[in-house]
């Protein structure tokens, strides 16, 4: 917290950096005023430390006719251990966008916090929100700064989705952006998944997703994709009716970003489990 120790009990009030340049980026400001608060400014570990840190896993995003949905399972793993059953890996980035994270949980959550402040800061200084593409680019910059740590097993790979307020008429307003560890930024069509179970989630979405889904139908494809990922990937958690832990799903539409209630997701998950077990019983003749 060295960044704060210079802060502002000294007689002169605001340090010069606070009054000097007028920039709208919180990250850029921290780089001059309190660089030690930035995740990218720390020494990179010399040895691989991937197994020492909890890792978050599968995140899924799909578009639907009025926007976009993003969901994530609740498991974090540390090597072969389950380090958390109820971690949250999908967050609202601002009113019209959400961010989901896979990879080293500690760094990822710090990055999400920084990103949330970054967007809010811009909004307060400029009096308007960044464009959706602008938000996606800012995030790419943050990932780029983490490449050194990524090579030592602390990769962070987010998935970003939002409602594009400037979408051309006719174009779908829900848009999804995926990233790689080097900060590469790719816009995805229709659906995307990141994390260890993404292979299975994407295969599931390939069969269930269509362009004109309603919000309710799209919610089902998200929960089902996470179910399929949990089925085959040990690092992805399935719905947990014993502890009443269900995937976290956010919907972003013209009304803004809303987290779907646990009851809503529980109902969808229970339907999927019931249908799957019925199908299994039919096929085995039991």
């Amino acid at each position: 917290m060295d960044g704060l120790s210079q802060w502002p009990t000294e007689r002169s009030g605001f340090p010069h950096a606070y009054l000097d340049r007028v920039g709208s980026s919180f990250t850029d400001f921290l780089a001059t005023a309190a660089p030690d608060l930035l995740p990218g400014r720390r020494p990179v570990p010399q040895l691989p430390v991937g197994d020492l840190a909890p890792h978050g896993t599968t995140i899924v995003a799909v578009t639907f006719d009025g926007g976009v949905l993003m969901g994530g399972d609740r498991r974090a793993t540390m090597g072969n251990l389950i380090s958390s059953r109820d971690i949250e890996k999908v967050y609202p980035a601002d009113s019209w966008s959400v961010i989901g994270i896979a990879g080293a949980a500690g760094i990822a959550i710090e990055m999400v916090r920084l990103y949330q402040v970054e967007l809010e800061h811009y909004e307060k200084i400029e009096g308007m929100t960044l464009s959706l593409d602008g938000k996606a680019n800012r995030l790419a910059g943050m990932i780029r700064g983490n490449l050194g740590a990524a090579l030592q097993g602390l990769a962070v790979v987010p998935l970003f989705a939002g409602f594009d307020l400037d979408a051309a008429p006719g174009a779908t307003p829900g848009r999804i952006f995926s990233y790689d560890v080097t900060g590469g930024n790719y816009e995805e069509r229709g659906y995307a998944a990141v994390g260890s179970g993404s292979l299975f989630a994407r295969s599931s979405l390939k069969k269930t997703w269509r362009a004109d889904l309603s919000a309710a139908a799209a919610t089902r494809t998200v929960v089902e994709a996470l179910y399929d990922a949990a089925d085959d990937d040990s690092a992805t958690g399935g719905p947990d009716p014993v502890r009443r832990l269900y995937p976290i799903v956010y919907r972003v539409d013209a009304e803004g970003a809303v987290r779907l209630t646990d009851d809503e997701i529980a109902a969808v998950a229970d339907t999927i489990v019931t249908e799957r077990s019925a199908a299994d019983r039919n096929s085995t003749g039991a």
Binding site: P8, G13, A257
Partner: protein
């Protein structure tokens, strides 16, 4: 040869004060009032983009009069301070007092050490969970800081507006009522009105910048009241009906924010668009397990 001339410190300070006062008194006035559900900012400001009132943090707002370029850089500094503190500690650890103190120090230092003082007057307002915990700090160009109780008036005609408000203000008014009281007070002394005609007329919505810190909103309490919502509030207030207090919240709070409007314009009752929902880690502060 120029002679180094002597001026006594008293004379210097007096000159600077006079200079700053003159600069401030040229501008239009801003009133900050408490009302039942929070804090109301009313500025006479014909510009829709050069704001005199703005958001510093979740529960903290900012109002200023004087030289725009100067208070704008102070506003940016306040936003930066709030965001740095909130990011490195927690959102709950950002208070109006900290920001007001930093302003006071900065204004005081500039006043004593620089040739030219800031020609600004600021108000830092923090909305609490109850009306008793609302805070209004008024900061003047020399770095003095005053904790005011019910309202703060700054700018050219501050004295006259304050006198008017003392007569008509009462604590705990509904939003529409408080807005009418404030607009009447500003209109009574506004040079725009004096030129325009009879003192019965009020400032039009286009000449006003209105915003509230609404304590009922879950996270970011600051909200601008613009367009149809402002017209409705000003119109409702004229009738003086008893139910304006009930009608007001819905009148100025569209449940669907118009695309492009900054967040904080949604329905205060619905934990909707303000960067997260209740229970999702305090509006998306992921490292805060206690809040969910």
């Amino acid at each position: 040869m120029t002679m180094p001339y002597y001026a006594s410190p008293e004379q210097l300070m007096r000159d600077r004060s006079e200079y700053a006062r003159k600069g401030i008194s040229r501008g239009r006035s801003v009133a900050v009032l408490t009302y039942a559900d929070g804090i109301l900012f009313i500025a006479e400001n014909p510009s829709a983009t050069l704001h005199k009132v703005s958001e510093l943090y979740d529960r903290i707002g900012f109002a200023a009069v004087g030289r725009y370029s100067e208070f704008e850089s102070l506003r940016v500094a306040g936003v930066r301070l709030a965001d740095v503190r909130g990011y490195s500690y927690n959102r709950r650890d950002v208070t109006g007092r900290v920001i007001a103190n930093a302003y006071a120090q900065t204004l005081g230092t500039v006043f004593t050490e620089q040739m030219k003082p800031f020609e600004v007057e600021l108000c830092v307002a923090e909305v609490g969970t109850t009306a008793e915990t609302d805070q209004l700090y008024r900061l003047t160009f020399d770095g003095s800081i005053v904790d005011e109780a019910d309202f703060v008036v700054m700018g050219g005609q501050a004295e006259a507006v304050t006198t008017h408000l003392r007569e008509h203000f009462s604590p705990g008014m509904a939003l529409a009522e408080a807005l009418m009281v404030g607009v009447r007070a500003l209109s009574a002394v506004s040079p725009a009105m004096a030129n325009g005609g009879g003192d019965a007329a009020l400032l039009a919505a286009a000449q006003l910048e209105v915003a509230v810190l609404d304590r009922r909103r879950p996270k970011r309490a600051f909200r601008r009241v613009v367009g149809a919502a402002l017209h409705a509030l000003l119109g409702d207030g004229d009738d003086g009906a008893a139910d304006t207090g009930e009608a007001a919240p819905s009148a100025h709070a569209p449940s669907t924010p118009a695309p492009g409007t900054p967040p904080g314009l949604g329905d205060p009752a619905a934990p909707d668009t303000a960067g997260g929902t209740e229970g999702s880690g305090e509006g998306g502060s992921p490292s805060d397990p206690g809040a969910s």
